[in-house]
Amino acid sequence: MESSHSEENRLTPVKIVVAGGFGVGKTTFVGAISEIEPLRSEAIITEASEGIDDLDTETNKTMTTVAMDFGRISLKHDLVLYLFGTPGQDRFHFMWNELARGAIGAVVLVDTRRIEACFAAIDFFEKRGTPFVVAVNTFHGRRLHGEQDVRDALQIEPSIPIVYCDARVRVDVQRVLVAVVEHALNRATSSAGVG
């Protein structure tokens, strides 16, 4: 038996989840900073079909595929960051648990013209205790709503950062990711103080 790989060269994977409503720009956001073209991966899930006779429960399920986009950023020689875009449709929310498990934080991407599309994501991360920031996608640089308006509409804690970004612009995305990690750091140090 030969030894496989030397321990000191081990890469550690970390991840940040990018959530938000359907069509809000998650894939664009991931693609703006990923070193690889965002890749799409599929999971097969079974869904119960309604309105079919209950003769055989196995056949009452249909197979559906759910797509997830992700990107990769090498941060250090031993550290790699994965960005995961959550599937947008409501019926795939159960997949968010696996995506959020072990995430260092999350971005909730918001289009202020359809602000309600992000409510589910905010509820989820609040309940789960995942540190998150709200990133308002300005689409071509226009801020349609001020920060206080957004904060009022979302009813989020004052400690949760709201940042504006153009999801197509790399430095904007970088700034959002910095905000996520800084927020996670604040949370980690304050909870250590309490505990």
Binding site: M1, E2, S4, H5, R10, L11, T12, P13, V14, K15, I33, E35, I36, L39, R40, S41, E42, A43, I44, T65, M68, F70, R72, I73, S74, L75, K76, H77, L79, V80, L81, Y82, F84, E98, L99, R101, G102, I104, G129, Q174, L177, V178, V181, E182, A184, L185, R187, A188, T189, S191, A192, G195
Partner: protein, 125 residues
């Protein structure tokens, strides 16, 4: 830092139901494998690559360099669940190693050190 540029492997469009690749199994026998867990082929795995059937052999080839489970699924164009089952088998047979993401511990010095390192990395992109 070098830009990582994988070669896409096109396998899609084959008329094979996905779980025929895993003998119908849909769950991993050993420990759970995270989407971002990194798979690396062992020397033994590379040497014995020809003994594995197509999908498993491709996992070994692609993971000569660290490759996340989700990347393998995208590059091979097979569902994530299938890659998890096959990777679990390869792990048991010593053909690959799997590096898990850090455990979900969200406080303590180790965790803040990790976050600081991530922050520094993102800022210097």
């Amino acid at each position: 830092m070098s830009v990582w540029n994988p070669t896409r492997v096109h396998v899609g469009g084959r008329i094979v139901r996905p779980y025929t690749m895993t003998g119908g199994r849909t769950s991993v026998s050993g420990r759970p494998i995270a989407l971002e867990a990194l798979v690396v082929a062992t020397k033994e795995g590379i040497r014995n690559r020809h003994r594995y059937r197509w999908e498993s052999a491709e996992i070994i080839t692609l993971s000569r360099k660290e490759m996340a489970v989700i990347e393998l699924a995208a590059l091979l164009d097979v569902p994530i669940g299938v890659v998890k089952v096959l990777t679990g088998d390869l792990l048991e047979q010593g053909a690959v190693t799997v590096t898990d993401p850090p455990a979900e511990v969200t406080e303590g010095e180790g965790y803040t050190d990790l976050l600081n390192k991530v922050l520094d990395g993102i800022k210097s992109l």
